[in-house]
């Protein structure tokens, strides 16, 4: 069976070398066919969709939103005047902006919350007055002052709509399902830009960050992956001085991207931000071509006959290429076992792309080599031997690794040990706001609003009394009030609002605005009547946001000043502790809202990703053992991957960077690269050792010759992806740094650690080869 496959492969290579024009033509034709699928692309920029709509947390959030008339996506517009917003000009601006915002398409006008749209109940002698907080802008100084006192003295409003110091006011603009938060924020920006005053405007909230990120992600991908490709092409040209080689190399990468993406787009699969990263991955995996050309370079010098050189090159590199591509494909495909759909698609997309690369290695690459003019190869190689210095250097490296084998292995072990400490410090956390750079507009808006108001992230604590009218019980309301007091002491809580606050407010207002009556009354009837009174005076929406129709469930709205998933998690732990110490009889409390969603997302997507990655690693190890039919060689060729990942995670831990979505995605990249290097090294060494039976000679040869391909590869990609360090989104910066780290670390591990191990354990690693 295996022999037959090898037969087919040989025939494929021979055919391609004999009919290169046909192969190139056919490849181009197929590429055009796959490329034609691209206009059908469906892009999904919403990171929320990493969890399916049917997931428990999304379902429960939908339910909670239904019970309380809430909206999942709310844009927060902050208006800051250093001199305070309580002056006729600023107030009129707020009024005008609100009016204009209400007319925008895609927003939920009825639920826009701002000073002119929220009702306030005040008392004036025998009269209860229900009117918007800002019904009309007062002109006289004393009226302005009265308004400021009234608004900043209202606990339902302060730190939500207006900061305690009166410098910042906010508009909460819910948007319709499916509306684009960034597009709407941009339209609001146009409205605020028309106001020429001392006020500054800030735009925050989950939809702004999310949609800005989604759009930027695709845009930067469109910028930086071609840029990385260009840098690599230039580097490649300086290595080989051959345009054909450059074209072949990048061509294989492009073709694999177009085929794999075209295939999935053609199937109607939406391209999610995760899958949008796959071109980077496929570019990295297509490095096989460098190994082939590296070998071709040497072989041609030996045999001086193009066709023979091609066949010999393919014969020598076929096994490692097949092994490394198959293990890489299997590793990525195994991501599809997990529950998260975009991760599945991403895994399968990269796996399919990898198989395309494998196919190209045996068809397009030999065909292109066959099309190269002989005198040109000659000239390249004769004019100068560009690898001479590097080869000699690598020879020295090989001698060092084998000579100081114990020291090298111990140093490696020490690094792994130290990294283990760093790994213990790792914090698995996701914070979408931090996907933007510290100086970015999104980060700044979030910081300003979190400093002056209750917080831009929302958590809901849904209290279920299990029976109709259960919430209107004074005991329950007092418990909620107590819970709020506890929560408000905790980080990162900035503000809480519940139905208890409304009841207290009505109680105070009905008692001539006496602060001493800002309490929950003693009887259920009083509470019921207050709630009806409030509903009769103000918009029913206000109450509906905190209590459901049958008074069975209440919603405690908790504003958080941090988007960190770990902060939400710690807070919920503390709340659970509070509730264990002081349970509310008959009432069950469950979290919901965007902050909770992000926490669950963090747990499920990140841990799902990590566990998928670990499973892939185990699978790769298993495949390596199987491929070499040697347990120890399996382990050895797994080592560079292990070393690379452990070191990177160790550094992540030490530096204090969160292990977030981008890092967990990129971890999987090491599957494609580190294993690739190790397999090339191991296969070529075993071939050479089989021929010469001299361990030392075979090792030095491997370090110097295939090792050069590895090093070229590493330098090529490190330089290509260095460009990404200048990207505007931190995930791309991470891609840049990560790629360089993976390249250099796994190359170092392969060139230094493997020879040292082979000479240290010669019996385990030379037996059976």
């Amino acid at each position: 069976m295996l022999k037959r496959l090898v037969q087919y492969r040989r025939r494929l290579v021979e055919f391609s070398a004999t009919h290169p024009r046909f192969v190139v033509g056919l490849t181009l034709l197929l590429t055009v066919a796959f490329g034609l699928q691209f206009p059908k692309i469906r892009i999904d920029t919403d990171p929320k969709n990493m969890l399916p709509e049917t997931s428990q947390v999304r379902r429960y959030n939908d339910q909670v939103e239904g019970w309380f008339g809430l909206h999942p996506d709310v844009i927060v517009v902050g208006i800051r005047n250093e001199g305070g917003i309580f002056n006729p000009e600023s107030l009129r601006r707020i009024e005008r902006i609100t009016d204009e915002v209400l007319k925008l398409p895609g927003i939920v006008a009825r639920d826009v919350i701002s000073l002119p749209t929220v009702d306030d109940v005040t008392v004036d002698g025998d009269t209860l007055r229900a009117q918007p907080l800002l019904a009309r802008v007062p002109e006289r100084a004393e009226d302005i002052d009265a308004l400021r006192k009234r608004i900043t003295g209202n606990p339902l409003v302060v730190n939500r709509l207006v900061s305690a110091d009166g410098k910042v006011s906010a508009l909460y603009v819910p948007i319709e399902k499916g509306a684009n938060g960034k597009a709407i924020a941009d339209r609001i920006k146009k409205i605020t830009a028309a106001e020429k005053g001392p006020e500054q405007f800030f735009f925050a909230g989950d939809p702004v960050a999310r949609d800005t990120f989604g759009i930027e992600m695709f845009r930067q991908m469109a910028w930086f992956s071609p840029l990385a490709g260009m840098v690599m092409m230039v580097a490649l040209y300086f290595m080989f001085r051959s345009a054909t080689l450059v074209v072949a190399n990048m061509g294989v990468a492009m073709i694999s991207i177009i085929w794999a993406m075209g295939f999935f787009i053609g199937l109607g699969v939406p391209i999610h931000i995760m899958a949008s990263m796959s071109p980077v991955f496929l570019m990295a995996i297509s490095t096989d071509t460098v190994h082939i050309f590296n070998e071709f370079h040497f072989r041609y010098k030996d045999v001086r006959e193009k066709r023979e050189a091609i066949l010999q090159t393919m014969e020598a590199t076929a096994t490692p290429i097949t092994y490394s591509d198959l293990t890489t494909a299997a590793g990525f495909a195994s991501l599809a076992v997990g529950p998260i759909v975009p991760v599945k698609i991403f895994g399968l997309l990269v796996a399919v792309g990898t198989l395309v690369i494998l196919l190209m290695s045996f068809t397009l690459v030999p065909a292109l080599m066959a099309l190269m003019k002989e005198e040109r190869i000659e000239r390249v190689n004769l004019k100068k031997d560009p690898g001479g210095v590097v080869s000699r250097l690598l020879y020295d490296v090989g001698r060092f690794a084998t000579g100081r084998r114990t020291a090298v292995v111990l140093a490696g072990a020490l690094l792994i040990g130290v990294s283990a400490v760093g790994i213990a410090w790792i914090r698995v956390n996701n914070n979408m706001i931090h996907w933007f750079k510290a100086g970015s507009e999104v980060r700044k808006a979030d910081r300003v609003l979190n400093e002056s108001l209750g917080g831009t992230a929302t958590l809901y604590l849904v209290a279920d009394a299990k029976e109709e009218g259960g919430i209107a019980d004074p005991k329950v309301l007092r418990s909620l009030e107590g819970l709020q007091k506890e929560i408000e002491k905790r980080y990162p809580v900035g503000k809480t609002v519940s139905v208890a606050d409304y009841v207290k407010r009505v109680n105070r207002v009905l008692h001539d605005d006496d602060p001493a009556h800002e309490t929950v009354p003693d009887s259920r009837e009083t509470i019921g009547q207050y709630l009806l009174l409030f509903n009769m005076a103000a918009k029913p929406r206000d109450l509906n946001n905190v209590i459901d129709y049958p008074y069975r469930k209440a919603n405690v709205v908790v504003q958080l000043q941090s988007w960190d998933a770990v902060d939400t998690k710690a807070l919920l732990e503390q709340i659970r502790g509070d509730l264990r110490a002081n349970p509310i009889p008959g009432v069950e409390i469950r979290p919901a809202g965007i902050a909770y969603f992000n926490m669950v997302w963090n747990d499920e997507v990140l841990w799902g990703m990590l566990s998928g990655f670990l499973a892939s690693c185990v699978l790769v190890l298993f495949l390596l053992v199987l491929a070499y039919r040697s347990f120890w060689w399996g382990i050895a060729s797994f080592l560079p991957l292990f070393f690379t990942i452990v070191l990177i995670y160790g550094v992540v831990g030490f530096v204090g960077k969160d292990l977030d979505m981008p890092i967990s995605v990129l971890s999987t990249l090491s599957l494609g690269l580190a294993v690739d290097f190790a397999i090339h090294f191991a296969s070529r060494f075993r071939q050479r050792y089989g021929e010469t039976k001299d361990v030392q000679e075979a090792l030095l040869w491997t370090v110097a010759r295939p090792g050069k391909g590895i090093l070229r590869n590493a330098v090529l990609f490190a330089s290509g992806f260095a460009a990404m360090i200048f990207a505007a989104l931190t995930p791309y910066v991470t891609v840049g740094i990560f790629m360089m780290a993976i390249m250099l670390l796994s190359a170092a591990a392969t060139i230094l650690l493997l020879p040292a191990l082979v000479v240290l354990f010669p019996r385990l690693l030379t037996k059976g080869t």
Partner: protein, 274 residues
Amino acid sequence: MAKKRAVWLMTGFSLFLLLSGLFSRAFAETPGGAEEMMRRSALVQFYAGNDMKTKVTMRLRSKEGGERVRELLMARRNVKAGGDQKYFILFLQPADVRDMTFLVWKYPQRDSDRWLYLPAIKLVKRIAANDKRSSFVGSDFSYEDVSGRAVEEDNHALLREEKYAGKEVYVVKSVPKDEKSADFGYKVSWVDKGNFVLWKEEYYDKRGSLSRVFTADEVKPIQGFPTTVKRMMKNVQTGHWTEATFGEVKYDLGLADSLFSERSLKNPPKAFAR
């Protein structure tokens, strides 16, 4: 004296109905005609009889199926047909709001006066609120939906004539003259050509999308007045809806003006509460 005037008014009104029925096609073509139609529809809808009393059962439903039921006795007395009115409301259900009373003096041209009595703290308060925006006892109906909106506040235009649920109807579009005077951008009404019952009304928000839909689900003649005994207001944007059933409807009971006073808030007349 008052009775005699009322009889005259009724006679005049019926004659007017009859005549205008004959000429309806003629006046429908002029803008003033559409306004007249709406005025008469408002009379049928909100001013039937000199007074009336009914037991209202309201079912308030939220999107996720949460339900709140309210039961109340409501009395209305016209001070002037098409003009001022007084409403007195006594809550029966749910238990915690039982005996709450509510008094509304409605003026077509300005915000109504409202008083509320909270038995739990034995307190009467006057409430000053905006009729256009505030909800009627927390339901999807606004005060205007319950007691009418002054016809002069809108520009009316006949859109078409059609059949609605087997009835010949006028379809009239009404746009507020002053944008700020209403919570809606415009509304479309389906008015019965025969008896001027309002069968359906669609409210569009200021951006032109449908926000609420009123339907008369059951109309029957009571004491000669076509009475909408079951009505529904659906908020199509929030998915909330309120169904109001008018039971035990009686007209022209000769309700005393004293019922509609601050004094009866604390002590509603026994005869009324029964």
